[in-house]
Subunit: 349 residues, 2 copies
């Protein structure tokens, strides 16, 4: 995947910026120009949320393997906490490869002075979310850093899943004419975190959408639906996810604003704060890209699961205009959707 | 595993201390009283460096899965850097389960302001160490935290290995009469980090012992040696590792001071600083516990690999005195080795 008109590689005088972690252009440049070349190998180059791996000597076993660190601030928010995110986020990364999530690891980096009862609460959330998702945290590690050199608690979860079906779910499988489904309303997680962090008062509390999506995905796969690509919408939101997928597949996408649900409160907060909900982070939403004739059965299946009950088709994949994402506004005009240059909301997951 | 005479569970007024991350009693209490009960499951209760997992539907495939976060300070030191440790440490955790390391993940937590060329150097070390160990970093994640809320760079690596032999390598397999082999001299890593951090000048530079040990381990397994248990000596050093294993196996151990190599410079530094080399961290050393009649062939194999060339028998496992480790001093006296109560050297890995 390449981002257009890259500037020269950062040199020794350059430093890491907050925007390097936010799912936008800066982050993609860091990945493309420094991290991927440094660690170069085929699995990493797949550009997917999980690596898909063949187990030597076991020709039928394909594994998905993924990792994510969670640094969300604040640690506790309406609808969940850093522990909930750490489980659901990694479960979702496995699900996006079509894998059945099996095992998680938990690597804790604790700051000296963290109240022990906060750690207890976070671990209880990890346990609860893991039980709900049907996975076990099977291995762990605890490090402590001195006061002032951390931020209370960071969690890394890595995950292993098994791929039991012969589908190539990846950006490279996307075809012109494919339909894009969105699994629910967007922007709640990002606005929830922002409201909590900045102590903004809204009429009702905006809750994070954090959820594990693997059951919806596996139900579609088990029904034999030919899924082409899946992507959960996290940092950078719906816009960045679509931009990444069109760049990777060298195709284009057109989405319709009127079909993209945004809760009234979230929309109001975005207008107030000058944010575009297309770029706001989610933690329990995904897009599903699949052939047109699979749309109806897919929506039927998705409607049966609470976290994907409000799924709908929001647009389609087009040939040509490699990497372009266009939004058809409610007024009927077309707007080109770009990747976010820098930082909209830091540390939302 | 239990640590004797535990005080009551930390309550809400208690906070995380540096010692909770150092491999001693505090860390074991945190694990036993808070983390393990919170996440309770069978794999986690194995108390091993890696979880050993059976892949559903693939009866012959056993996987090892492990995770470690690296927060070493300073990031660069003689003999390696945080990237070298992050690869070798996780490779070793897999090797200690008798697994062939296959894949690693890398989760980076970067602090805003980290010089880009430092990130580049660390990634080059990750690549170099991974290539040397024959593993690939197949999946990754990058998060950025704001200035003052991190410490430049933390790395989590998780690892997957495959267990190709039918050996139960675990504390539960240790038998009375088993011999304890040590793979080389102890204490170099901890003293190297301390010297670098505190700008201590020694006559010659003390280098970290960081090394990947899987080839030595796999060669012993392939030769059919009935290994009972393996443990790499990291935080808490040789003393803590033996203490953990005797507690888990409900047996005792006696080791001979005269057979435990400590480099002259390391010994001098320990005396100067009031440290006991038995508790100083290593990053490329392990103990091998195996039946007496396997000792000779094991030492022959270990001698062929540069990083384990100086392996030797240092003691034996005894029945009774559950959990006790005794050190026979050079003067012939017996000293009971306890687990370190708190913190000797923070952030050495």
């Amino acid at each position: 995947m390449t981002v257009p008109s890259d500037p020269p590689l950062p040199n020794s005088k350059k430093t890491v910026q907050l925007g390097h972690g936010s799912g936008g252009i800066l982050m993609h440049r860091l990945l493309e120009q420094l991290i991927l070349p440094a660690l170069d190998n085929e699995a990493l180059r797949q550009g997917h949320d999980s690596a898909v791996l063949k187990l030597p000597g076991e020709p039928n076993a394909r594994l998905a393997f993924t990792t994510d660190s969670y640094v969300v601030k604040p640690r506790f928010f309406p609808g969940g906490d850093i522990g909930t995110l750490a489980v659901n986020g990694t479960v979702n990364d496995l699900a996006m490869a079509g894998a059945r999530p099996l095992w998680l690891s938990a690597g804790l980096i604790l700051e000296e002075g963290l109240p022990m009862d906060e750690l207890e609460r976070v671990l209880a959330s990890v346990k609860k979310a893991a039980a709900a998702a049907g996975v076990d945290v099977v291995t762990g590690d605890t490090k402590v850093v001195d006061r002032g050199h951390g931020d209370g608690l960071y969690i890394n979860t890595s995950g292993i899943g098994i791929i039991e079906y012969d589908l190539a779910i990846s950006p490279q499988s996307i075809q012109p004419g494919d339909v894009i489904l969105l699994s629910g309303d967007i922007g709640s997680h990002g606005i929830c975190i922002l409201a909590e962090r900045e102590k903004l008062d809204f009429e009702t509390t905006i809750k994070s959408d954090t959820a594990a999506l693997h059951r919806s995905v596996l139900a579609m796969i088990e029904a034999g639906l030919p899924l082409h690509c899946l992507r959960d919408l996290t940092r950078g939101g719906l816009a960045s996810a679509l931009k990444e997928l069109t760049l990777a597949s060298k195709l284009s996408a057109e989405i319709r604003e009127c079909d993209i649900p945004v809760e009234l409160q979230v929309k109001g907060a975005c207008e107030l704060l000058g944010l575009d909900p297309l770029y706001v982070a989610n933690e329990g939403r995904m897009i599903v890209i699949l052939p047109k004739d699979a749309v109806k059965p897919a929506l039927e299946i998705l409607s049966k699961f609470p976290d994907t009950a409000h799924s709908r088709a929001i647009g389609a994949i087009g040939a040509g205009n490699s990497g372009q994402v266009a939004l058809k506004s409610t007024l009927g005009t077309l707007r080109v959707v770009e990747m976010l240059p820098g930082e909209q909301l830091p540390r939302i997951c």
